[in-house]
């Protein structure tokens, strides 16, 4: 080996990142585009690792699940609109309410937020991609396959039917002999893998992928929300995956974890489920609250009031969220001391929540609100959050909860919380970022219609449920007798539900029309403050032509808001165009730390996801050999994925020069 060859092979291991400009159409910009663009056609479609493409897929897929879950709800509301209806049999009703819950909670509410975060994070943080682009693709494919898996037995009338929290022994083999629960159990383990790898990606992205200068106190609140939720997922998801796995073992092999007659404990299921389930409640709302914290200030024409307080309250909520799971089990006969402790902890959560609420109200109060459609959705969200929060504090009181458990009051509470804090910010968020996603504005007039119809329909539909609950109507009954005194309330609820659905329909019509005919948006139609609005709409494949240098919390408002003298550098920055490159920075101060070599598009995530799903299908059908074969196939896909890549500089330089000699 001659010394020159050695030097040339060692040289790329250290490098001063090139600094400069890359305006649209320049040679540097063209090179970037050719490096980052996905191949056209189905190959590129299967292999893409572009976070924007994956984010949109997440949003659209999750929205389809929202529609499916919504139709299930409407069918149930027809059944319940009047007493003694026979549209559905009890068994059909069981499957419908179970699948409605499973769909909304697992297949819609987190995935849609993952979609927003996947699309927006690198743009918010000033990076060219997520930390693990291929893992990102894997998490989407697994989500899609798990969603299909959970629905696979629905058409033949064998869907999960024991409620979304699936208590044993009702869901044990003794009382539920079909494949229904096995589908649920295996599907949830599969979905858990998707959630976990997605969360890993978010956590590492936050700590490593921010533009230089975006220190930890300058990241947008939505990033705080998704980060907190992702850490929560890493700690909580194993609990539910384990619970479902143990249940599957009980049902398939005859183990005794939940088997009462052999010393198993049904309450173990409830503990494992809710140790996951309650943190999950915050997982599906904190990123949505982050959407509001970031987008609402744009329409108040001022920065968010109390940035640090909101960021800290986000994390405090999650932390407390791990210490309240027993409040789902108040009526199970646990010791009073435990009930008191967990009741008190549940009430304490109202403190960080109130901090956020007051910050939003103060932002509106001190700003100059612009009453556009997104603003309406965000302001509506604040109101619904307060109602849902108050009914939450009510059910945290143990004696009241004894009365309200398993009544429609709880149904009302959880819908105010989940629709109020998830669906309203999400729809508002789509109105807000639609121009960034597709380059066109959504229609304002239809937008306002969609808000008011949704908001009215929602309150007509769900507020009376509180009263139905107080009047003693239990949840999950498939019909009721006409002399219970619940007739009017149920009819009103059903009308509200359909009105709400009409609002969603207007929103969808608006989206479809605007996609074709909306006004062209330009880079920053709302005159917003954060980095995603500094790039074109839709953004180019490489996101940022140069990695910007960030000097404040609101890079695009530095010239007007009271931001101090610091100025971010957006047009001039690090070029990084020797292959797919971006900058890694230090976790707290965001000082440049490393030049990252990002992976190319790859089929490995698709195949790993496919083989995993087929393996679970094999387990469901008890085709053990097939399942084993798929496990091996998945292992091969994973090995191919992990093979030390030359482009990522994961392998030795000596090998590079040898290969260069071969190919060069």
């Amino acid at each position: 080996m001659n010394p020159i060859a050695k030097n040339s092979s060692d040289a790329p291991l250290m490098r001063v990142p090139e600094f400069g400009r890359a305006p649209l159409g320049s040679a540097a910009e063209k090179r970037l585009a050719s490096l980052w663009e996905t191949l056209p056609g189905w190959r590129g479609w299967l292999a893409t690792v572009d976070h924007k493409e994956i984010g949109l897929r997440y949003i659209i897929t999750a929205f389809v699940f929202l529609l499916i879950g919504g139709v299930e709800a409407l069918v149930m509301r027809v059944q319940l609109a009047r007493p003694d209806q026979a549209l559905l049999t009890p068994e059909q009703y069981n499957q419908l309410f179970t699948m409605h819950g499973v769909t909304m909670i697992f297949l819609y509410s987190l995935p849609i937020l993952s979609g927003f975060s996947n699309y927006l994070w690198p743009l918010l943080l000033g990076s060219r991609d997520m930390a693990f682009p291929r893992l990102n693709a894997l998490s989407y494919w697994l989500f899609l396959f798990a969603g299909i898996f959970l629905y696979v037995s629905f058409p033949v009338g064998q869907a999960p039917n024991a409620g979304w929290f699936n208590y044993v022994p009702l869901s044990s083999l003794e009382f539920d002999t079909g494949p229904n629960i096995d589908v649920y159990a295996l599907g949830m383990v599969l979905l858990g893998i998707s959630t976990t790898v997605g969360s890993i990606n978010f956590v590492v992205t936050l700590f490593r992928m921010r533009a230089p200068g975006m220190s930890i106190n300058r990241v947008p609140i939505m990033v705080w929300g998704t980060l907190t939720a992702s850490v929560g997922n890493l700690l909580a998801v194993p609990s539910v995956s384990l619970a479902f796995f143990l249940l599957w073992l009980d049902r398939q092999t005859g183990t005794h974890f939940f088997d009462v007659s052999n010393g198993g404990k049904p309450l173990l299921w409830q503990h494992l489920f809710w140790m996951f389930g309650h943190p999950w409640v915050y997982v599906v709302v904190l990123p949505a609250m982050g959407i509001v914290s970031d987008a609402l200030p744009t329409f108040c024409r001022r920065p968010l009031v109390g940035y640090a307080a909101v960021a800290l309250s986000t994390m405090a909520t999650m932390l407390l969220g791990f210490e309240v799971w027993i409040h789902h089990m108040f009526a199970t006969g646990l010791p009073t001391l435990a009930l008191s402790f967990f009741g008190a902890a549940s009430m304490v959560i109202s403190i960080p929540s109130a901090v956020a609420v007051f910050a939003w109200i103060a932002t509106i109060w001190l700003g100059r609100p612009v009453f556009t459609t997104p603003f309406l959705f965000f302001a509506g969200f604040v109101m619904l959050f307060v109602i849902g929060g108050v009914s939450g504090v009510m059910t945290a009181a143990v004696p009241l909860d004894f009365q309200l458990t398993d009544t429609y009051f709880v149904v009302a509470h959880l819908h105010y919380v989940l629709l109020g804090i998830n669906v309203f910010p999400v729809v508002g968020g789509i109105y807000y970022w639609f121009p960034k996603f597709f380059g066109r504005m959504m229609d304002e007039r239809l937008g306002k219609w969609s808000f008011w119809v949704m908001f009215t329909g929602f309150n007509i539909g769900f507020f009376p449920m509180h009263i139905a609950g107080l009047m003693g109507m239990p949840r999950r009954i498939y019909t009721y007798s006409g002399d219970m005194g619940w007739n009017t309330i149920n009819m009103v609820t059903s009308i509200g539900a359909f009105l709400f659905a009409a609002g969603i329909l207007i929103f969808m019509v608006n989206a479809l029309i605007s996609l074709k005919r909306g006004a062209l948006a330009g880079n920053n139609p709302w005159d917003a403050a954060t980095l995603e609005w500094s790039v074109s709409s839709p953004p180019p494949a490489y996101n940022f032509a140069v990695i910007p240098l960030i000097a404040s919390r609101h890079p695009l408002w530095e010239n007007r808001a009271d931001e101090g003298a610091a100025r971010s550098s957006l047009d001039e920055g690090y070029l990084l165009l020797q292959g797919r490159e971006t900058l890694a920075t230090t976790p707290l101060d965001a000082r440049p730390d490393l030049i990252l070599k990002m992976p190319d598009d790859s089929y490995a995530p698709f195949f790993l996801g496919l083989f995993s799903a087929l393996m679970f299908a094999g387990l469901l059908l008890q085709w053990w050999d097939f399942a084993g074969l798929m496990a091996i196939a998945g292992g091969i896909a994973l090995t191919a994925w992990m093979w030390p890549g030359r482009k990522q500089e994961q392998s030795a330089s000596a090998m590079h020069s040898a290969r260069d000699a071969e190919h060069g």
Binding site: P212, T255, F257, A584, L596, Q650
Partner: protein, 198 residues
């Protein structure tokens, strides 16, 4: 500060040791996998605390062979660690040999554990304790098998000359996973073998 000054000193390029995303990714994987074992052991203690049955059904566990097996597993972790150290000091040949020894020790752990399984008078479905014992040790065994596959791939890649003193991030990351698998065994061992003595 009014103007941002571009960086002057060079940065490492690509996956570089503990600054690589992969290293961070594995740390988060350890957090979530650690939680999984935490919930498994929670289930054990939750059920053990309430059981009316003889616990464990065949009396207090004998410690000699499982104890030795624990040492074997820990030794294997040590060999992986030294193997990585040798790689950093450009002793690639020793690195390969040490990694091979680590794999042998890990395989030894599996063989001994399988014979332990065979000696049990109960199975996974006999009683509650059997369900717990075989599920918990089975979970760990699955991790050991995956770990051995990873170490074998690292060995293969070493022999193919993929790594040198500067670039060996896969060894650091794969090695860390193995240390986790071995570390978590101590918790499993303490729960299944030591806690009945309390």
């Amino acid at each position: 500060m009014a103007k941002l000054i571009p960086l002057q000193e060079p940065l490492p390029v690509g996956s570089y040791g503990k600054r690589s995303n992969g290293w961070w990714g594995l740390l988060t994987l350890i957090v979530t996998e650690g939680s999984l074992f935490g919930y498994l052991l929670f289930s054990y203690f939750y059920l053990a605390a309430q059981t009316q049955q003889q616990w464990p059904p065949d009396g207090l566990p004998r410690l000699a062979i499982p104890g030795i097996n624990t040492l074997i597993l820990l030794a294997s972790s040590g060999f992986v660690w030294i193997s990585e150290y040798c790689l950093k000091s450009k002793k690639i040949r020793s690195s390969i040999i040490l990694m091979a020894v680590a794999i042998l020790l890990g395989t030894g752990f599996i063989m001994i554990q399988l014979s332990e399984w065979n000696k049990k008078p109960y199975t996974m479905i006999t009683d509650l304790y059997g369900s717990l014992y075989f599920t918990i040790t089975g979970f760990h065994m699955a991790h050991v098998v995956v770990g051995i596959i990873i170490l074998s791939l690292l060995l293969l890649w070493m022999m193919l000359g993929y790594f040198d003193d500067k670039r060996h991030v896969s060894v650091s990351i794969g090695g860390l996973y193995w240390h986790f698998v071995d570390g978590v065994w101590l918790f499993v061992f303490a729960t299944l073998y030591l806690s009945p003595y309390l």
